[in-house]
């Protein structure tokens, strides 16, 4: 676990801290994340999937569960249980370099979004807000927010898929 923490601890802490914006809470959630990873590492097959996307997903879900709990939204500890199965990441098979290339492509695509598109992606992917919550926060119609989210995600998706195909 020390090796795992040394390699990914900083990234997982950053993702959680970005969401909850509180050091003490982030530390608690990082600890919970490593418990969850520890309990499930035996389900991960290194020949069929990559570790990092799975770890990132587990960490982000812990942060989102916490935020929804704080907001009073309906939640339970296992709300992401099904979607955290390591087997879902089997399609991520391939050299680590692919992942780095995809991340760079997505980072670049993020800069091509307009300010509002970037903001809605920040709110969905880093703060776990629903589209209705974003509509309230930005004082925009829900339909407008949905359009913004979908168009932004389309740009990012095409950037990742395009880089993976090269």
């Amino acid at each position: 676990m020390a090796v795992l923490y040394d390699r990914f601890g900083g990234l997982l802490y950053s993702i959680i801290f970005r969401a909850v914006r509180d050091q003490s809470t982030a530390e608690d959630l990082v600890q919970e994340t490593f418990f969850r990873i520890w309990n499930r590492i035996h389900t991960f097959d290194a020949e069929k999937g990559r570790l990092e996307p799975w770890l990132v997903t587990v960490a982000r879900n812990r942060a989102f569960d916490h935020l929804r709990s704080v907001r009073g939204a309906a939640t339970e500890l296992t709300s992401f249980d099904e979607l955290e199965r390591a087997g879902h990441f089997a399609i991520a098979s391939g050299p680590r370099a692919d992942h780095v290339v995809q991340r760079r492509a997505v980072e670049q695509a993020l800069t091509s979004l307009n300010e509002t598109q970037r903001e809605v992606i920040e709110l969905t992917h880093f703060e776990g807000m629903t589209q209705a919550e974003i509509a309230d926060k930005l004082h925009k119609p829900l339909g407008t927010v949905k359009g913004l989210v979908r168009s932004a995600l389309r740009v990012l998706r095409e950037a990742a898929e395009g880089s993976a195909a090269q």
Partner: protein, 243 residues
């Protein structure tokens, strides 16, 4: 979205679906579609999970506090409960498992050794996995205590599996004193269940395995007790988390 006619329409929503951020009506339609066994959409879900992970990975890196490493790693074997036989197994299993993880990350050949080590230690791991099982079990309730003040932490309660308490910011016990975990029933005297020693960073994890009747248990409490004392009631109660 009122016009979800085919898989391509759904594909637009899978990132939000896998983040749990869709409207109830949209989620319901996708659930129904997936339940019908659409393999193309199952593959799309996996692609969306990867896409979300890549996007989350673009976060600006923040250096975690130095003590967090110790705290996380301490959670895998440094708490010292009274049941020596349990933690003898736990420490052995944790050490073997940590070694296995290291091998796993070094190269594929060593990963095979990790799998073998994991199998060899399956029985020991089953014991130490009690903590994780409670944390992830459906129906586990989370109670936090002392937010923003010392000490603070979380209590995970599962009616059939037991209780896990994760505490932080605990000062070292004074010389000649020990930390003790208590179950406080709705009526009757508190019951001492677990002695523990916080790690160097003031963190500790205790597990109270077994069924918990939420109607008969009022709280989990932590106290300081004189070393060697007969534990009949808490001496110096530090905190109690109502469950």
């Amino acid at each position: 979205m009122n016009n979800l006619d085919n898989c391509a329409d759904f594909r637009e929503l899978y990132e939000l679906y896998s983040l749990g951020l869709l409207d109830a009506s949209e989620k319901e339609r996708i659930d129904e579609h997936l339940a019908a066994g659409c393999e193309q959409c199952r593959a799309s879900i996996e692609q969306a999970l990867l896409q979300n992970a890549i996007l989350s990975g673009t976060v600006t890196l923040v250096k975690p506090p130095a003590h967090l490493r110790q705290r996380v790693l301490a959670g895998f074997g440094e708490a010292r409960p009274r049941r020596n036989w349990f933690w003898a197994f736990a420490l052995t299993a944790a050490a073997c498992f940590l070694a296995a993880i290291g091998l796993f990350l070094q190269n594929r050949e060593l990963q095979t050794e990790m799998a073998q080590a994991t199998r060899r230690n399956a029985l020991e791991l089953a014991r130490v996995a009690d903590v994780s099982r409670i944390l992830q079990a459906p129906g586990t309730r989370l109670v936090t205590f002392g937010p923003g003040a010392a000490p603070h932490g979380s209590v995970f309660v599962h009616a059939k599996l037991g209780i896990v308490m994760v505490a932080g910011t605990l000062a070292p016990a004074p010389a000649g004193w020990n930390y003790e975990t208590w179950i406080v029933p709705a009526s009757g005297a508190p019951r001492a269940v677990e002695a523990f020693t916080p790690d160097a960073n003031g963190s500790a994890i205790t597990i109270i395995p077994g069924a918990v009747d939420p109607n008969s248990v009022k709280a989990v409490a932590v106290s300081l007790e004189p070393a060697g004392a007969t534990l009949q009631k808490p001496t110096k109660v530090l905190f109690a988390a109502a469950i």
